[in-house]
């Protein structure tokens, strides 16, 4: 069944199919040009009128109290830290997933399970510490 599948693709008898990054680079360029062009066009087309009240930050109709850029609450940092922990793990899992699918050795599986178990301990610790409670 699968052998007859038609999609042009990669890992074939002819060896690994190269990744084409050039089109990606082209798309990046075109996307940025599109965005900048849209903004430029809009800036040219629209009218402009200024005034002191219009210039002031929007604070629901009252004169702004204090500064908007203050220290954040520590909660946001904590989320970022936990995220970092897990995201590194996810990135490590990707190559493992591809490799494990290819050879399916029990050793690879056990290795990753040990790695995940260590992370799970950290996860439980974070939970117990109340990091994952947001109230």
């Amino acid at each position: 069944m699968r052998a007859a599948f038609v999609i042009a693709s990669l890992e074939s008898a002819a060896g690994p199919y190269p990744s084409d990054w050039l089109p990606v680079a082209m798309l990046v360029l075109i996307a940025v040009v599109f965005a900048v062009g849209t903004l430029a066009l809009s800036a040219m087309v629209g009218r402009s009128r200024r005034g002191p009240v219009k210039d002031s930050p929007y604070e629901a109709g009252v004169v702004p109290v204090g500064d908007a850029r203050r220290r954040f609450h520590v909660r946001y940092y904590v989320i970022a830290m936990v995220f970092l922990l897990f995201d590194v793990e996810v990135v490590l899992l990707f190559p493992w997933a591809v490799l494990f699918n290819a050879d399916r050795s029990g050793f690879l599986l056990a290795e990753m399970f040990v790695f995940l178990a260590i992370l799970a301990v950290g996860y439980v610790y974070a939970w117990r510490k109340g990091v994952l409670r947001f109230d």
Binding site: S48, R49, R50, G51, P52, V53, S56, E59, A60, G61, V62, V63, V65, G66, D67, R69, R70, R71, F72, H73, V74, R75, Y76, F134, D135
Partner: protein
Amino acid sequence: MVSKSRSENVQIPIGPQHPALKEPESFLITLQGERITKSGVRLGYNHRGIEKACEQRTYIQAMYLIERVCGICSHSHSTAFVQAVEEVAGLQIPRRASYIRTLIGELERVHSHLLWLGVAGHEIGFDTLLMYTWRDREVVMDLLALLTGNRVNYGINTFGGVRRDVDAAQMEQVLKGVDILEERTKYYITVATDEVTLINRLSNVGKLAHDDAVRLGAVGPTARAAGVARDIRKDDPYAAYADLDFNVVTATQADVYGRTLVRVGELLESCKMIRQIIKNMPDGPVTVKAPRKVQAGEAFSRYEAPRGEDVHYVRGNGSDKPERVKVRAPTMANVQAVAHMLQDGYLADVPIVIAAIDPCFSCTDRLIGVARESGGRGIMTWEQARQAGIEWHRARGIDFTRLNETFRCGEPR
């Protein structure tokens, strides 16, 4: 560029111009993360001087003006005022008139509660509920238009009775409409009691315990949701309520969810009452002759508006104009509880907590006493007040007197 302040607290103003509020009022919320540590309310953005204006109008003119205190519970204010004047004047209105007043009052409650349900849905990002309830609200609005000629500001009251009678065909229509409304209300009760996301979103939000509700003087559904069975229709029956068989709906949750349950419960009770009124509608005239001048005397009148107890005070001096009119709208009693409810809540809950008292800020806004710098209360002339405002803003870098120069003829600066 980060501010040097070590505090993690952020002060966020909600209002006067904010999408969460449908009327201008200002709540200043102090946040730590997403949690509220302090909140304050500032009234007075929408003061219209109606009380004072009544003193310069005849009673009948004042009655129409009072009806415009609120766009939603207009009949409540008008009835409360008329009741007070009738008490001063010593008028006894016909039974049929009191039944018609009660009928309009209950229809108004249905329309107000449906409106609230929609607004509450909107505040938690559930616009479909808004569209549904406001569609169903059309039914009761049409009934009110059929009975009074208007969808809001019904103008049905007059001193000594009501201005329009209700005929059998109209009552038949009302009964048909009530059937639809009751069926829809049952659907909303199912939504409110079965929909887990809705329950989780509303439960334990804006807590106001029984004792706090009593202490802070909460009224209406806000108090009843905390288990305070306070309802003027039972406690001090007016109009035809003494003849009606109905229950005071209360809840034990003491949170926004409880307030929702109380309001949907009251919708059912109102439907029940409307049926009773129509079934027992007495025959007879709908009005008695009322004098143009009202004798000297004063009266308090209480009315259970959809939002809670509405209090009107009228003092007559023998002329055709009232000497003093005082309105205490239900929101005035409830708004003090809002700060308490917001305490330790989330920023995300601010809109629904404020909305849960069904606020009507233009009814609430009173004249603000101006404190002199030397201490003590004083009176400012209009010009002084204007100048003080300009200087207050100028000290903060905005010169309103130069706005016209800046924006003259729409030319860019």
